[in-house]
Amino acid sequence: MNMQTTSRLTAAESALIDAYTGQLGELPGNGAVISARDRLVDDLKTNGLPTRRVEAWHYTDLKTLLRSVPMDAGTGSADAIEPLVAGAHVIGTRQGQIVGKPSVEGVVVGAFADMLREGTAAPGLSVIDRDDTIGKINGSFVRDGLVLEFPAGVTVEQPIEIQALHGAGQAHTRFPVSFGAGSKAVVIERHAQTGEGSAFVSSVSDISLEDGADVTWIVLQQQGADDTHLGQVRIRVGENAKLKLFVVNAGGKLVRQELRVDVAGEGAELSLRGVNLLGGDTHTDVTLVLGHNVPNTNSTEIFRNVVFDRARGVFQGMIKVALDAQKTDARMACNTLLMSDDAEFAAKPELEIFADDVQCGHGATVADIDDNHLYYLMARGIPRNHARAMLVNAFVAEIVEELEDEALVEALEGVISTWLAKHA
């Protein structure tokens, strides 16, 4: 479907290939890893970046949107920032590399760079499918990341915050995380620019939940106004496991956040939530591919988008129900508020269903603030602008409140209201 023969590379495509050649000597990895990287770069060379003709990238024509790529891995040192929730275990990367020796009690913490050097990372440096451009870029350039292993039965009381911080330049991280049977934890994957200048960031979190694991995974993207952020979360959910996946986009210039979820164990329960705060002259794409692959699983997906200024937002959400996945119950909603006449939003919620005994649905709305709500607030004496701000806040806060953990809810609401105060 997407065979493209790229005779001419764009500036960004050439820059990517040149950057790879330039960095080759520094990239960690044994022979197997190097040849895996080479294959991915070759693929990029032959096929180029995806255009709108590639269905999976229909609304994010990366070939056109990605104008330039900084050559080098950034070298600026980024300072740690205050964790979202006080008392959290803070670990992380700076400019794509681990500093010091991070540890969290009860969790086995390793370095992805070691996996690259030893070659155990090689099989993972592959693409999920031909349209997995993020997998290609990340696999080519990744230098480090944290490897977390939650032993079976362990409960980590305080949230763990992975801070992937960087200044200008390139930063590519990968986080293989496994949650053992019955383990329980809250992890915040936080991406932020703490320096100046433009950055090109890719990150892949490769997560598995074993039977009965109970995990809340939060992606908080707060990149700088000139940054490109290509994020991917791959998750496999085992039997009776519970996953709360929460994505907040509140930054970046060109952002694609992919969520690739494989519901692989019966009795699994998923709640996927997203809040996209879009402003300025930016482009943000959240793409979800959710595969219900076994019987008796359920999921709900709610994404709320608020679009200001000249921002463009995209939501693609596909629910796939496999042939044998009877009794699947999956519901998806994508609601958008367009706050300016120059704002744009495109939604493509898809259902692909091969099992008959299922209940699946999706809803999508694009609208302005509800006039009835506005009128009610104004009838109580709240001036129009204040009333609008309240309603926008409410529109996204409603999703955040589902997290239940009070400290977490409060912290995320803080992120949202700070962002809105700046943009609204």
Partner: protein
Amino acid sequence: MAAVQETIDQVRQIDVDQYKYGFETAIEVEKAPKGLSEEIVRFISAKKQEPEWMLEWRLDAYRRWLTMEEPTWARVDYPKIDFNDIYYYAAPKSASGPKSLDEVDPELLKTYEKLGIPLKEQEILAGVEKPRVAVDAVFDSVSVVTTFKKELAKAGVIFMSISEAVREHPELVKKYLGSVVPVTDNYYATLNSAVFTDGSFVFVPKGVRCPMELSTYFRINEKNTGQFERTLIIAEEGAYVSYLEGCTAPQRDENQLHAAVVELVALDDAEIKYSTVQNWFPGDKQGKGGIYNFVTKRGDCRGDRSKISWTQVETGSAITWKYPSCILRGDDSRGEFYSIAVSNGHQQVDSGTKMIHLGKNTSSRIISKGIAAGVSQNTYRGQVSAHRKATNARNFTQCDSLLIGDRCGAHTVPYIEAKNSSAQFEHEATTSKISEDQLFYCLQRGIPEEAAIALIVNGFVKEVIQELPMEFAVEAQKLIGISLEGSVG
């Protein structure tokens, strides 16, 4: 529920061979040589006694088509079509052009009688209660007869085959042909532009409400023959017309291509209602044969307050690739799309609509009901977009899928694009099987299962059936029943 299992088993055994229109008419035909070339395009144009400009138009389309590639984005799967293995022109020898009823070959009349299509004006007149319907009958590549022409002409309505229109009303054809679906719109539309053979032309002048339903009945009879129908409907300011098309084909082992283009133009305050009951041969139970139905249908709400409404009941064809769309250009214009797509056996359906909001205060409504059975794949694909200047654009979309049996697939692919903050789009989709609660309720009230399923399916599609002209609603309901036979009694 064991009973349900039984139903599923029955569906599996569905004999698509019960296609009731699969007979063939033995009639002498004149064909163009097989294959596609400039010569063939010239041949068709000459056969139609077309003026030079029409030939040039076709040749231009043909040359452009040669540079294009077949689209592959739809969720349909079929072996590559050899476009040189198709006859692009076939006409009953006796029918060199549409003429009066008494001159039509009796063999042809018999065919239409068998299909239940009324071609005799008197007969229709005799039926007191039946509303009158004017029919244009297209057999392979030519229109064999158009009824009620004179009476329609009295009201100022032009209803004739497009071949005639090219000769008799060249100024209208020139002005509107290709103005909604440009020559290079897509691969099949371009092909159609080069080789279209016949179809209907309707022109309703300013302020006229067309006095009867118009309809075209398409029949593919010849083997290895493609049908490239071209329909053009124009409703001038304040005009109204309701148009219906029906289609059938004999049962054959090979696949046949039907690549049509339909263009509708509605000027200020005009309304066009376009209904389709599509029942091309769907292929046999092994998935052999059947029509490839690759169709481009588009309406242009060119005028303010204009309205175009598409209603389709799709039960036939091996593959359906069709997205009747509305371009809402005029302020306050409205587009509607009501669809029932039933797939059974090995059928593949990828159908839906596009609502392109360009004008201010435009609104659209999409109701799509997909029913998948057998090993079929049924996809709804729809686009709703509001452009920057489309202030207050409104859309409501409801698209529901019903799965009967566990070997079929139902898919929903909406594209929702808003570039105007005052736009309000609402989209809802569901996929499920027949509710066991509903079924149980019916059974408990003493309704046998087959009847209960029929009842529930009919309830499921009711919103769309209601949009059809009355006399076709009944037919459509029956057709859905037949298409699902084995599960619906």
